[in-house]
């Protein structure tokens, strides 16, 4: 399956993290929250005004902006 950007997920979909763009400052913050390659990530919802987005990784719910979510690539879990 081809990796897609995290921001392309639909609400409720789960995926496996393939990689984080390690040169983006947002990546280090996400890594510290345990958002690591190979972990499962679930797209929970979009904020009412369309941005930011809410995700869940191993019991941690967090929110990032759509632009920053674009630096994470994932594989959909069928």
């Amino acid at each position: 399956m081809n990796p897609i950007s995290l921001s392309e997920l639909r609400p409720g979909q789960s995926a496996r993290i393939v990689s984080l763009d390690q040169d983006k400052p947002v990546s280090q913050k996400l890594l510290h929250l345990g958002v690591l390659p190979d972990k499962h990530i679930r797209f929970i919802k979009t904020a009412p005004m369309g941005d930011p987005l809410e995700f869940e990784v191993e019991g941690t719910n967090f929110s990032v902006r759509r632009k920053d979510a674009g630096s994470i690539s994932v594989e959909l879990i069928a």
């Binding site: 040169d23 929250l33 369309g50 809410e54 967090f62």
Partner: protein, 749 residues
């Protein structure tokens, strides 16, 4: 303190009998760390400000047996890698690099039992410092409810440090935690360290060797920060720019890359791998994990209902600051007038002292205390919102509005509160972790139209707009005045984020923690400490400003001014003897001279020749392009400590006494009838529509609030307070001139 060569101190904490034991309390945000701190210390806590450190920490005393021990509650952080000053202070504190703050003898790591692996990351980073540690597992009862069963004994033996489950709300585990602290201090129990892959070990070792040669003696943990962090906050920026240092860092990162590791991610990946080995078989979940609040959250952040509930909550917050605190403010006002009248009565034979005590000292104390009801009610709600976890949802919902200006959703509550009063609004920016966002929010908060501007709007609209244009237009103008500051604030923020030196907006990563029931003890302690903080840090300055403006309006005080008023009255009323008390005389027609009118005239005469008034006349030409005469200019000057003062100043200057309010018909009439006495516009009315609008625009935008400046100074710096004053006052002048000139031109067509 970005010092770089005192790292070694921390590795040898020395005990002298005179030096009390120091504990550090660290943990991720939202782990119940403050609850634990409050449970350990109770009221024995104070806010500490270290010189040169802009972040406040709380220090308290906890008794181990009967020995008092100091404990410092550090800001919540996910990592020692600092992207904000709040996070940076944790590293600085643990390394003992903060002046006047001794390095801790032991660190208590608070880990959320419902999210243990992720929380262990910070503990594992701290383990690299090889300092005695105790682990407190918070939210223990939630973990049990969620079917998370942790083998504490096994975890403790694998980690090498005591692990104590606590439930800070019931107090369970607190006694055990204290015992564990004692035993860990004796045995110096340190948490097991990560076994770094070879290339990482090499890179750290090489970096330490090369920095040593430059005279920088960083410990292992300090070297890791320099190696792994994209912006190595562990180094002084000046030191970091030295070419030898730069090239050492680059070379050592090359070692990592050659070993197949990315400098930015290797630390997290290695620690989490280490943790997953440590955690194997530790958690035995019985059945499916039940997470609290997911269904609640579906409503609270729902596209439609979420915004509705949000508006309702925020309306409550705003109402609390705007009107719930009103009765308490009334009590303070009443108490103040009662004291003023009492003192005035007792001191009639010492007029100078009388005025100093009543209009200077008591007024000044009142000017400070008047903010307490608003601060306390706002922080009641903020503590409640933070305790429950809704505050982060508010930031999540509102982020979109702020993102383009470089701020994030966390600026919403401070700005909303500033519509009631900027003082509590600015204090509430403490909830914004990112320093630059916080400074910018502080800077734009006073542009929100606060309730103290309302009397000015009501006076002008009531005198000039409502009678001519009707209530509908009057309402629209009032609304427009409230919108004006907001429309200017966000572009200001945008310009600031674009122009701040070296400022890159931080990526917005926001953890949305599980909802929690609020703990009333935490809420009350928060209100108490914020109120106390305000009195200590801003109170004295607010008091001094009030005193200075009192003096400028009171002095000089030559007898001749009162004499000439008496002489004028005597001329008009020939039977009046200049030395007779006004209250005992009648004019020839048998009409009693109103003694109050006589007193008001003397008051007006003194103000008219006061230093402030002289200043007003001197600088009136500056305000001439906005159509202000010297009386309005004096009102503007007198309003710099507090903008609502303009109403009573105009009252005094129009001989109506200082007790008039914005709804007084006499003041409205005085304004409408006021005419230019000299200059090219002599004989024309002063208060045209253009002047009225210009005054309102000026008051909407001008930094006329000594208390706000005092709070900006204590929360940001003197530089920011000066910048705020200069920016807002210039902006107000420009906009007032534009308003006056364009409206004058339009009305002359």
């Amino acid at each position: 303190m970005p010092l770089s060569n005192r790292e070694t101190r921390s590795n040898h904490p020395h005990h002298s009998p005179a030096r009390p034991i120091q504990l550090g309390l660290v943990g991720n945000p939202n782990t119940g760390k403050s609850t634990l701190f409050n449970a350990l210390t109770g009221l024995r806590q104070h806010v500490g400000n270290y010189p040169g450190v802009t972040v406040t920490t709380k220090t308290g005393i906890v008794f181990l047996d009967k020995t008092p021990v100091y404990i410092t509650d550090l800001p919540g952080t996910y990592s020692l890698s600092a992207s904000s000053p709040d996070e940076r202070i944790v590293f600085e504190f643990l390394s003992g690099r903060i002046e006047n703050a001794p390095s801790p003898d032991l660190v208590i790591c608070v880990l959320d039992a419902t999210n243990l692996s992720r929380n262990l990351f910070l503990a594992s980073q701290i383990a690299e410092r090889e300092m005695p540690m105790v682990i407190a597992l918070s939210f223990w009862d939630s973990a049990i409810r969620q079917n998370i069963n942790i083998d504490v004994t096994e975890l403790s033996s694998r980690l090498g440090v005591p692990v104590i489950p606590v439930s800070a709300s019931t107090g369970a585990g607190i006694a055990e935690l204290k015992k564990a602290i004692q035993s860990s201090l004796e045995k110096k129990s340190k948490m097991v360290r990560i076994n770094w892959p070879g290339p990482v070990r090499d890179a750290i070792g090489e970096l330490r060797r090369r920095l040593d040669k430059q005279g920088l003696h960083l410990g292992e943990s300090g070297a890791q920060r320099v190696l792994f962090d994209s912006v190595p906050q562990a180094l002084d920026p000046l030191v970091e720019k030295r070419p030898e240092i730069r090239s050492a860092v680059v070379a050592c990162r090359q070692i990592l890359k050659r070993g197949g590791f990315h400098p930015q991610s290797v630390e997290s990946i290695a620690h989490f791998k280490h943790i997953s080995v440590l955690m194997e078989g530790i958690i035995r979940s019985q059945g499916a994990r039940v997470r609290s609040g997911e269904s609640v959250d579906r409503i609270l952040t729902h596209r439609f209902w979420g915004l509705g509930v949000f508006v309702l909550f925020m309306y409550l917050v705003f109402q609390s600051v705007y009107s719930w605190s009103e009765p308490f403010m009334q009590w303070i006002e009443t108490g103040k007038s009662w004291l003023q009248n009492g003192c005035a009565g007792a001191l009639t034979s010492f007029p100078q002292l009388q005025s100093l005590i009543t209009d200077g000292v008591i007024e000044g104390v009142g000017a400070v205390l008047i903010f307490l009801p608003q601060i306390l009610t706002l922080f009641f709600f903020i503590a409640l919102l933070e305790e429950t976890g809704y505050m982060t949802r508010a930031a999540f919902l509102m982020d979109r509005i702020f993102a383009w200006s470089g701020l994030n959703g966390k600026s919403f509550v401070p700005l909303l509160s500033s519509f009631a009063c900027a003082v509590p609004g600015i204090l509430s920016t403490r909830t914004i972790e990112d320093r630059a966002s916080r400074l910018i929010t502080i800077f734009i908060a006073p542009l929100m139209s606060c309730s103290a501007r309302l009397p000015v709007y009501v006076l002008i609209i009531g005198a000039l707009i409502k009678p001519t244009y009707g209530p509908a237009i009057a309402g629209l103008v009032l609304f427009g005045m409230h919108l004006l500051g907001l429309l200017i604030a966000l572009p200001t923020a945008w310009i600031l984020t674009k122009s701040m030196k070296g400022y890159k907006p931080k990526p917005f990563v926001l953890e949305l923690p599980d909802y929690q029931a609020p703990k009333i003890k935490n809420v009350l302690l928060r209100m108490w400490s914020e109120g106390k903080e305000f009195l200590i840090r801003a109170g004295t300055l607010i008091f001094s400003i009030t005193l200075i403006v009192w003096a400028l309006l009171y002095y000089p005080r030559p007898e001749s001014v009162a004499e000439s008023v008496k002489a004028r009255f005597a001329q008009a009323h020939p039977t009046l003897q200049a030395d007779m008390p006004a209250s005992s005389v009648y004019d020839p027609s048998g009409m009693r001279i109103d003694p109050e009118a006589f007193e008001r005239e003397i008051a007006r005469a003194y103000v008219e020749q006061s230093y402030l008034s002289r200043l007003g006349k001197t600088i009136q030409p500056i305000f001439d392009p906005a159509g202000f005469d010297w009386k309005i200019t004096l009102g503007v000057l007198a309003s710099f400590p507090a903008r609502e003062v303009i109403v009573s100043t105009l009252g005094v200057i129009y001989s109506l006494g200082g007790e008039v309010d914005e709804a007084s018909p006499s003041l409205r009439d005085a304004i409408r009838n006021s005419k230019w006495t000299e200059g090219p516009r002599a004989g024309q009315p002063v208060f045209t529509l253009a002047v009225g609008l210009a005054i309102m625009v000026f008051f909407a935008l001008c930094q006329q609030c000594g208390s706000t400046l005092a709070v900006i100074r204590s929360e940001a710096s003197t530089k920011w307070a000066v910048a705020s004053f200069v920016y807002m006052t210039t902006l107000a002048w420009i906009c007032a001139v534009i308003t006056y000139q364009s409206v004058s031109w339009l009305t002359s067509l």
